[in-house]
């Protein structure tokens, strides 16, 4: 094997070890948050709204530390652009495509005070249940409650993160959006903040087992786009029975136009 071949193999081996370490740190960190930090905050701060704000700040900080570790170990790199478009104090419906397992980590690091939807299993799991409840995240237990709660949270002035695909993108395809996020956008009247996420080379996708290491260090690009008001897109059709379908089709084309060619 050539010298370059040896160096490449060593780099790959290092990323394998580093990745396993990151999984361990993530699991351990979640346990420390859930079992130690969150109960402490819950005791110290009795008011549920203030408690949720503290817990979310903690989670956001933990996500930034985790990403800092992964970058420090040279496992991933990332670039985020367009944050200047976010106006402090405005509640947005943050909608992102979902290529990888860790998209939510980036979004929570960037928008720690936003609401997010968690799997119903996480809201029941004894390790994560307290965390989910203290942070006041929205459990995805029933579609009726999910739609109503999402609109209410936005109305109360908090931003909400949604992945309109509902699951990770099928690799090699453009995102197929379910109409739920579009319905929330249309009904809340809040502006959408689209975030276009790309990962090159793609890793941690729906078809990648967690231990498969990409051939070179992946780089994430998070593009925060200009906010879009559904009323500006739909005009009079906002009042139509089909408003959510029309806006969903528009949003799907919006993401497709920005992801075409990078599949």
């Amino acid at each position: 094997m050539s010298l370059r071949g040896h160096a490449a193999a060593a780099e790959l081996g290092w990323r394998w070890i580093g990745t396993a370490l990151c999984y361990a740190v993530f699991g351990l960190g979640s346990a420390v948050l859930g079992i130690v930090a969150v109960p402490l905050v819950s005791v110290a701060v009795r008011d549920p709204t203030r408690r949720a704000a503290h817990v979310r700040a903690l989670i956001g900080g933990a996500m930034r530390c985790f990403l800092g570790l992964a970058r420090g170990l040279r496992l991933v790199d990332w670039h985020c652009e367009g944050l200047h478009r976010v106006r402090a104090g405005e509640a947005y419906l943050i909608v992102a495509n979902h290529p990888t397992l860790i998209d939510a980590v980036f979004l929570l690091a960037q928008f720690p005070q936003a609401d997010c939807v968690v799997k119903a299993g996480m809201a029941r799991n004894p390790f994560t249940r307290h965390l989910v409840r203290a942070a006041d995240y929205i459990p995805n237990s029933d579609p009726v409650a999910l739609l109503e709660t999402s609109v209410e949270r936005l109305a109360s002035g908090r931003s909400l993160i949604l992945f309109p695909e509902g699951t990770r993108t099928a690799p090699g395809r453009l995102p197929a959006l379910k109409p739920g996020a579009a319905a929330v956008a249309v009904r809340s009247g809040r502006r959408c903040l689209p975030v276009v996420i790309r990962c090159e080379p793609l890793t941690l996708s729906k078809s990648d087992p967690w231990y498969r290491i990409p051939p070179r260090r992946p780089c994430f690009f998070l593009g925060v786009q200009a906010p879009v008001a559904p009323s500006a897109v739909l005009g009079e059709a906002l009042a139509s029975r089909y408003a959510h379908r029309t806006f969903n089709a528009w949003l799907e084309a919006y993401f497709a136009a920005r992801l075409e060619g990078v599949r």
């Binding site: 029933d142 579609p143 009726v144 739609l147 109409p179 319905a183 029975r241 959510h244």
Partner: protein
């Protein structure tokens, strides 16, 4: 179908006609919600909310999971 079933069908017709502008004549037992009446998953959520208000009973979304036709909805409503 007994009187209760007919009544439910009538009420369902009212909801579908008012809320979604569907022609009452198209709302028959065999009509499929998604394909024939052009509803989608969001419309189904709205329908459940409206039926809750109308019947005063909780309509669990799980009960609607296997629902395909207008007749299925009537059956679910009657079983509550």
């Amino acid at each position: 179908m007994d009187a209760g079933g007919c009544d439910m069908l009538e009420r369902l017709r009212d909801v579908l006609a008012e809320r979604f502008g569907i022609d009452r004549g198209a709302i028959v037992d065999e009509a499929r919600l998604y394909e024939d009446l052009d509803l989608d998953s969001i419309d189904a959520v709205d329908l459940i909310v409206r039926l809750r208000e109308l019947t005063g009973r909780t309509v669990p979304p799980q009960a609607f999971r296997s629902v395909r036709t207008v007749g299925d909805v009537v059956r679910v409503l009657r079983s509550l």
